[in-house]
Symmetry: C3
Subunit: 138 residues, 3 copies
């Protein structure tokens, strides 16, 4: 059994972290899938999907680490192609990755208690994003 | 066909890297699944799953890289929320990711010869961990 | 329904980034799977799979970031085990990860318009690589 859902979110700008857990849990409930896998995917090369404990401190710490490791202010060859000044966004997205796959057992997404599935907006402007959730199971 | 297994491991402390390959291979054998996917997932926001050549040198190199990129000694806003001093653990976990998905073909997990599936304990204390292995296939 | 494909690529050397999207699309078309998941996996501990906008600038920016974060020139304990001087390759591969899972809906791989699935050769020599694509769906 396969169940697909797409939902839209509007991000407010660079490094906003959006908690998707509730929407994914609702998708699992609607699907009637009891056991299987949930794949959460962002179609696009300047956003990322991962998990994090969704609390205000880490919503600052994760962007701070990204800025330390992949600074905005350095040269990116990407800018010579498109002049859109988001080379760092692309590099960050490729390093974190665009998807995550989570087991579903007895109707429950197997996340830890303090672990949320998040989308990280890495582009430099607010954007409308479509998240794809694909469930495979029975 | 879906086959679920959870197994517990006890970690000895920060940056211990535990080879899970043998346990996953046994799970595949028990499941009778010949072709499909194996998803290995850590429920929890201070551990990570990836692959590595499991040899003593890299068990030092990987922690050294994590300390260089996400140092313990710097300020993390996470500490103001919980005072548990593991902000770096959370950031590292989000960057590596909590899961990995591996093809199974003719009963074999498609790992390279020198490639092992590992759990990385990123929290600052030894912990009891539950690893979830979810197989989907036929 | 499960559909497996392996294809070989020859890489030209360190940090070459190879666009796999067309080959994966053809695999999806051949499989007749309309809805499901595509898992792309590299068996081997010195290569990685991710997505990126495949344009000449980022093909320089991603290797530059890897060299900045995981330099070739520093000491790696891995070298004391094998004397093969690719410790940085292994660490980079574990951080990016060996696989990616992408939803398939109505026969379409759900990539963004400017998002390609890529293999990154992280080893220090040109190599022959086998990429595994595993489709699960209906």
């Amino acid at each position: 059994m396969i169940y697909s859902e797409r939902f839209s979110i509007s991000t407010e700008g660079e490094c906003q972290i959006v908690d998707l857990s509730e929407k994914i849990r609702k998708t699992v409930a609607k699907s009637k899938i009891r056991d299987g896998l949930a794949c959460v995917f962002i179609p696009g090369a300047t956003g990322a999907i991962t998990t994090v404990e969704y609390e205000p401190g880490l919503l600052k710490d994760l962007p701070a680490a990204l800025e330390r490791l992949f600074p905005k202010g350095i040269e990116y060859a990407h800018h010579q192609t498109w002049h859109d000044w988001n080379g760092h966004s692309h590099v960050r997205a490729s390093m974190i990755g665009p998807s995550i796959t989570i087991p579903i057992i007895k109707g429950d997404l197997q996340l830890g208690t303090w672990q949320q599935v998040v989308f990280i907006e890495l582009d430099i402007h607010p954007r409308r994003r479509e998240i794809v959730v694909q469930l495979v199971g029975e």
